[in-house]
Amino acid sequence: MALPQTITSELDALVTHYPDRRAALIPALHRCQEQLGGWLSPQTLEDLAAYFGLEPVEVFGVAFFYPMFRLRPRGRHLVSVCHNVSCSLRGAEQLLEHVCKVTGAPVGGTSPDGRFSVVRVECQGACANAPMLDLDGTFHEDLDPERAERILRSAP
């Protein structure tokens, strides 16, 4: 297997930004995750290793280190709820509980219908608009459980 050409042509441009091609690895992991189903399969990581001329274990090691990279399949929508200090002071735990109820997904898991995965995350830099959640890469801030429910219900 090899990476799709749409991705490799992007990566070919990206590696020119650095004196060492490997520096493009983290941006490359992002591109693959975004374009190949929201997670990084073992095959994708091996393909990336081949692209960069690295041992697969090197690429696995990097991917595993960073919380934004997901190494297992997930639901169609990823809901990340911040549980750090500023959010927890303004009701993050109640928000998270409601998110789980509305989506049917347990924390750290996926709903039976495969629509939602829900995870706890550390501070997202939305502290002055707490609590917050991130739905598929978009911040939703100044939330209460009812507003969060409306946002989640309107997800396709």
């Binding site: 490997r22 960073y66 549980h83 500023s86 995870v119 911040f139």
Partner: protein, 441 residues
């Protein structure tokens, strides 16, 4: 509090503030033109930054001009030179750089160019935390616009100065906000901090001279060029010059990001900017500069917000991210959440940090759940003293130890009461809070 003469946030509320046209219409790129057309010598730019006594806004408060002066003489050192912008804003409570990046990205781009000119760097990397997608997109669009206008790339504004600016996303690891962790991450590796020395100016990105500066720090530079060091020093206090961005969050009526001169008090920020403690309640405690700084009790609310005064009060100015707790908050629970974070974010290289953060987390966790032991209080202190100061490669262990020690110092009686009662009377529901952080995979 007297009227604040805003410059950092002067443009952020303009319609289309993120575009080149609006930036230019409000004085944008004049500092770059002045430096390149007059022209200034690179050393002159560094000198005005030195004279201004600008201190880094990323948490440590190091003198920016002094840091720049550590870069080797290019006549004697032919290696490529890099400027890396630390836009990995992730200290809990901190959300200020995001405002600048989303709403005034050209201000940062101009700051990068003028600073790179001063340090004779021809490549700038902006390392933005992965979750800040709007910041990333706005900055990328601003770089594209600037390149189109001849402001980024080869022979900028027809001068001999060439400079490329590249965006680089992080991927959710707090430790990459540590400058050597950031460099490892930028090189495509795990964000494991490097032992210092060598310092980045001697051996940074790809073993070349590198300076790492925070977003807000660099954002100040064009203003220093245009308005001079004396203007800057007239703002603020003797040891902390200029204005700073304060993000205030937690139990307040109006959380937000406010621009203030050094020298205001925490009380003025709390009461006049943030509308006071919410729900008419009383203040219990606050972090003055993010969760890595010592927790201060309500009695410290008149502390002057500058580096020296907050230090004298037993904490740190940090990133000026004030997190406010009202009288109903549980200190044990606050500390469980705080230490859970450091436990999750420890990179694992140093055993004091890897084991210590987890241990501190577990102890606060059991105190909240009524399973604490009286000797836990001394154990917290003993563990924290084993982790810091300066016992590990980077300061993450310190960042966990400092709030721990301050919580025990100021709130020992409350923590002991939780142990005695076998429950934390102030705790709110935490049934789902994980004992060990979930594997993100």
């Amino acid at each position: 509090m007297k009227r604040v003469d805003r410059y950092l946030l002067a443009r952020v509320d303009l319609p289309d503030s993120h575009t080149l046209a609006v930036y230019r219409a409000h004085g944008g790129y004049q500092a770059l033109e002045q430096v390149l057309r007059k022209p200034w010598k690179p050393e002159q730019v560094t000198q005005v930054v030195k004279d201004s006594a600008l201190r880094g806004r990323g948490g440590a408060g190091f003198l920016t001009g002094l840091k720049w002066s550590f870069m080797p003489d290019p006549a004697k050192d032919p290696r490529p030179r890099y400027l890396a912008i630390n836009a990995d804003e992730s200290e809990p409570g901190t959300c200020k750089d995001r405002v600048l990046m989303e709403r005034d990205p050209h201000g940062l781009i101009e700051g990068c160019l003028v600073s790179a000119y001063a340090m004779r760097a021809s490549t700038v990397y902006i390392y933005v935390r992965g979750e800040y997608r709007v910041s990333y997109a706005r900055l990328q669009a601003a770089i594209d616009e600037a390149r189109e206008a001849g402001l980024v790339g080869r022979r900028i504004l027809g001068s001999d100065f060439s400079c490329e600016i590249w965006m680089h996303p992080g991927a959710g690891a707090y430790i990459c906000g540590e400058e050597t962790g950031l460099m490892e991450s930028l090189e495509g590796k795990r964000g494991h901090p490097r032992p210092k020395p060598p310092f980045p100016a001697a051996s940074g990105l790809w073993r070349s001279p590198t300076t790492v500066n925070n977003v807000e720090t660099i954002f100040n530079v064009p203003f220093l060029v245009l308005r001079g060091a004396d203007w800057f020093k007239a703002l603020g206090t003797k040891g902390s010059t200029g204005n700073f961005l304060c993000g205030i969050s937690g139990h307040v009526e109006r959380p937000g990001v406010y621009e203030l001169p050094f020298g205001v008090t925490a009380r003025e920020i709390l009461e006049q900017c943030a509308g006071g403690v919410w729900k008419g309640r009383r203040l219990k405690a606050f972090f003055p500069g993010g969760s890595s700084t010592g927790l201060l009790p309500a009695s410290s609310v008149d502390v002057v917000m500058d580096h020296d005064s907050v230090k004298a009060a037993g904490s740190m100015f940090g990133t000026a991210a004030m997190i406010v707790l009202d009288e109903t908050a549980s200190i044990a629970q606050l500390m469980e959440v705080t230490l859970r974070f450091y436990d999750h974010e420890s990179c694992g290289q140093c055993s004091q940090c890897r084991e210590g953060t987890e241990w501190l987390h577990q102890i606060f966790r059991r105190i909240v759940r009524g399973q604490g032991r009286m000797q836990d209080l001394d154990l917290l202190v003993s563990l924290a003293n084993g982790m810091a100061p300066a016992k590990t490669i980077c300061a993450l262990a310190d960042a966990a130890a400092i709030p721990t020690l301050s919580a025990v110092k100021h709130f020992r009686a409350e923590l002991e009461q939780c142990v005695r009662l076998g429950r934390d009377p102030l705790a709110t529901a935490t049934a789902q809070s994980p004992e060990h952080h979930e594997a993100h995979a």
